[in-house]
Symmetry: C2
Subunit: 641 residues, 2 copies
């Protein structure tokens, strides 16, 4: 056995023993050191860069580490094997892709702002706000030798008398502690209750002065990021919001890798643990701490996510999703008890799962459609959700059709050497001077935050600007020379966005032709999916009244640039709007309103699902879209001005 010491970027060391030729990524995991591996440890993504400070590693060559870097100790963890004692530095960017609890509620208005809007809309649309959860003070007569009614019956009698429900529910775990809580507080206690549809259920019994009230949590489980908000259910007030990396990411960047991992022995439990114990529970604890309430006050939860994510979250066998005929275990489920999934909340809390539409169009899209209100509008609406999977919904109150396309992880920074998700340190806006080729960037985070990488919205800008300035051609190849363009000895070029002196990592932030090609394929997937879906309805983009773009790929995307590069159809820009994380907003609506939840059932049941791969001509459409803006330039008459 060899001794491997990891020096963490935040300070601190972790030392573990490792067997000869053990994979360094596995050694790090066994030491509890998280390292990004969105490609699943295949050496492809280059996110698991670590620095060898002392000792030796047996390491494969990688296009992600150049000679100079190799000599100064840089290695990819996933292709390194232990051959002796070693000391390894874990740089901050090795966990940038999955930084945990990255940002708090106020700092991330772009994620949570949509929800505040949503709350306004809910009341305007007359959708009932859930007022069923309440805090009440119960004052019981103390028992005497003449009145020996048991605690359970005594409390029920009081509630029947006072609130006149048809049914009083005192769950078993409440009954277990009721005698103690009553006697410690002289039979005067605080109860958290749900009182709706003539049922009154007690969620918690507490001392009368406990500062606790019933809360709810809405969650969006994305393949890459998990976002959540904590709400005071009694007053309808938002208390906290958090976004964090989905810790499943170490099992691969996309849903297919995750499903494959889940079918290994113990895999289903490991994947569930990663998203529940390692992602959602820390989020819940963080938000509850911020709002000064215990997790046991969380009486109701709502989850919106893609079909694979909600299967793995619930611990349901997901393998059939990825093999023909692509059949999931469920579209709809009844609310699942939080305790059965291991989510930290009240013992009686249930989790609503927004219903799925197809194997690759999940509850996150149902939630998004709910938010768009396209189901209630005569306007022909195109809803585009950008993420590792791109999903489209088209239609209005008469009909709706959905399809999914595999955009790959480029929108979330995957498969881009300097890519990262839209977290602190991500470049999310880029402008390039046509003459000097000097870029101007905007970085997510507090003032003075140095850039660490580039996220989806930054990529759209960068590539659009590179093209507009004539730095790259239609195929994404560099066609100008200058200080910002560097070529290695094979002639492969990169565009330096930020010099190493100005980055947080001390390494250049750049885009290569491979990066640009990966991105072009992502945008082509979206555009060709839109064209294919419309043509399957014998329509074209001229029928579109509005386009609603969603997805947490940055601080809002520059629609003009997205049109310029041929990602979105070339229709008047006024028809476009960007609504941020619509999955979280829809999850929030389902949490707060039974009518909204019922509407998600309607939406999912009424949706027509189009399997793109079986539509003739789809592949040709995709290939034709793999240019900037498109092989058919007539589709983008205003582009490239």
């Amino acid at each position: 056995m060899f001794k491997i010491t990891f020096k963490l970027s935040g300070g601190g060391d972790r030392t573990v023993l490792a067997a000869p030729s053990q994979n360094l990524l596995d050694v790090a995991r066994s030491a509890g050191v998280s390292i990004d591996a969105p490609c699943g440890g295949s050496g492809n993504c280059g996110k698991c860069r670590v620095k060898l400070l002392e000792g030796e590693l047996d390491c494969e060559k990688s296009r992600h580490i150049d000679r100079e870097e190799y000599e100064s100790g840089w290695r990819l963890a996933c292709v390194s094997r232990v051959v002796g004692d070693a000391i390894i530095e874990i740089p901050a960017e090795a966990t940038a892709y999955q930084d945990s609890l990255s940002s708090d509620f106020t700092a991330r208005k772009r994620d949570f702002g949509g929800i505040i809007e949503m709350q306004k809309k809910l009341s305007e649309a007359g959708i009932g706000f859930l007022r069923a959860f309440k805090t009440i003070i119960v004052e019981l007569d103390e028992p005497t030798l003449e009145d020996t009614m048991p605690d359970n019956e005594r409390l029920s009698r009081y509630l029947y008398d006072k609130y006149k429900p048809d049914y009083v529910g005192i769950p078993f775990y409440v009954l277990k502690k009721l005698p103690e809580v009553l006697r410690e507080n002289n039979f005067r206690i605080k109860c958290l209750i749900e009182h709706s549809r003539s049922r009154l259920t007690i969620f918690e019994v507490l001392p009368p002065d406990a500062e606790v009230f019933p809360c709810g949590i809405a969650i969006d489980i994305g393949t890459t990021s998990v976002s959540a908000v904590l709400v005071d259910l009694e007053r309808g007030k938002m208390l906290s919001g958090v976004s964090a990396a989905n810790q499943q990411i170490r099992y691969g960047a996309d849903v297919i890798h995750r499903i494959v991992e889940s079918t290994r022995p113990g895999g289903r439990e490991a994947l569930q643990r990663a998203v529940v114990q390692e992602t959602i529970n820390p989020i819940i604890r963080h938000m509850c701490k911020e709002a000064k309430v215990p997790p046991s006050a969380v009486c109701r939860l709502s989850v919106a996510s893609n079909t694979t994510m909600n299967h793995l979250f619930a611990g349901v066998y997901a393998d059939p999703i990825r093999t023909e005929p692509y059949v999931p275990a469920f579209f709809e489920t009844r609310p699942i008890p939080a305790v059965m999934v291991g989510v930290e909340a009240n013992n009686n809390a249930r989790i609503i799962i927004t219903p799925n539409i197809g194997s690759y169009v999940g509850g996150d899209i149902t939630a998004g459609v709910l938010v768009t209100q396209m189901w209630d509008s005569p306007e022909m609406t195109l809803f585009v959700d950008l993420g590792t999977n791109g999903e489209l919904v088209f239609g209005n109150s008469d009909f709706m059709m959905a399809c999914a396309c595999s955009a790959g992880p480029a929108f979330e920074g995957g498969e881009i050497i300097c890519g990262m998700r839209a977290a602190n340190g991500a470049i999310d806006e880029v402008k390039i001077d046509g003459e000097t080729m000097e870029p101007t960037i905007k970085v997510i985070g507090d003032e003075g935050q140095k850039p660490m990488g580039i996220c989806g919205s930054g990529l759209i800008d960068a590539i659009s600007e590179l093209y507009s300035c004539g730095i790259i051609n239609s195929r994404g190849q560099f066609v100008r020379e200058g200080r910002r363009i560097r070529r290695d000895k094979d002639g492969a070029a990169r565009f330096i966005l930020v010099d190493r002196e100005e980055t947080a990592t001390g390494r250049d932030i750049f885009l290569t032709e491979v990066d640009i090609d990966n991105f072009i394929r992502a945008k082509a997937a979206i555009f060709s999916a839109i064209r294919t879906m419309l043509s399957s309805l014998s329509m074209d983009v001229s029928v579109i009244d509005r386009v609603i773009v969603a997805g947490g790929i940055g601080s809002g995307i520059n629609i003009e640039n997205a049109i310029k590069i041929g990602m979105l159809p070339n229709i008047p820009i006024e028809k476009y709007s960007y609504i941020g994380n619509s999955s979280l907003a829809g999850s929030y609506m389902s949490l707060m309103s039974r009518e909204a939840y019922d509407q998600t059932l309607e939406i999912a049941r009424g949706m027509t699902y189009l399997e793109l791969s079986v539509v003739p001509g789809y592949m040709e459409e995709f290939v034709a879209a793999c240019f900037i803006p498109h092989t058919d330039e007539s589709l983008f008459p205003t582009s490239g001005e």
Copy 2:
């Protein structure tokens, strides 16, 4: 630390390290060696006799160990302390009081025979037998690219189409494995379902050839013994029955000791573990093995027990039961999920708890009253349940009154030096020749079973015979001399029932004056309670049309003898009947019939509870009854013939 080795009666050793002056009973427990301690380790009961083979113990003197025994190594474990290495022999009788899984179904007809009767009665009385549980074979269309309905919806659709329920319930744990079970069996599976009141719920999904069917378990949790039967719910067939000691017994013989133990830190969990993990789960595994079904086939359970027992079983805080004003946490509870109590059964199984009547008249009595059918009869009926607590119910279809009296553990062999519960090796019938004073005994168990002690029914016989033969007087003192009577140097006498040469333990089986006195107080508690309850109604024993005696104190008690000693009222013997373990029979009825369960709610709600201790004159009645048969001999005109 010293090395203590226990040599077990069944063969085998256990060795553990013990601290100086550690209590030997605690050391034994830490080694996983069970030793009876019905008195809670206070040195009173003398059940924890062990034999010191090598080494030393620091041991208090005890009336239970005479000089000769002490010299040959006998010690009471509960008053012995470790002072060096030692080797200790654990004799069979040290666990006789709590022998586990003592008897199987067929060998214990007296316990389970009542249930077979019950099944007849159920159908005669037109009480509906629960036919809701069924095994069905489901054949689904395999999904194709044209029919991609998810598994959950596919199964629901099939069940709605075929069985036309209003509601199909597929619990979450079934959903989790459904995709695998469907695909491993080409979409042809076996389901265990409950289909009643237009609800269809799936309890289990299995391969089509699995030999599994829905089962139910009825349980009687007594303070001393736990009995249970396993039933095929589909065909209404009894499959197995088991009776075992309640492993809580090591925390004390009576409910008060148990409650006190449960209030210590971790005590509630320990008491629950003792009855669930160490008593009920082994019973379930044993019965399921015998019937060749997995515990996951157990879809429904029913529990009848006294109020303290059902609180401790459910893990509910029980302390208020034992302190004024004696208020339990519940009379009624909704069915409790088996998983929440830790009972091994189907994940969706619920446990019905027969409702309690008062703090000291529990669901076991409600179940017993159900069995007597006194609630449906004009006959004035007295129901007597003999156990550590004696409970009485008097009344008919117009009214019913219940009360409890503390008889102490004598009926179940406690506080009697050679007493034991009605298990293999217990003397359960005794006759004594008036001239020779030679006893004739009957022993529970297979032919050739040597006696180990005496149980409740044997004690009634023995004391009645000792009195009839003039061997003891009205106060229970020995007044004859002979070979069978032995006196120690203080003049204290004992009657030798069986010589040591003929016992399984190699020790005499005898009764002392202290034993007889303990028993007289037990029978006096019963008789005075009957008198007090009737006089509180301005009635006397002449109004009684029938007396129904229940309790697992032996193979049926000799009523004539019980009357002779003044335990039961002196009314014509034809009015008496003995129905065995009515708590188990009533638990079984509740399991099998919703009408029966509803009837238990009616019985408990309609019952008047009489707190004996507040009735004037009760103590005087008790003192007057502490004679054989009674100070007022006019109450027993036919006695002593």
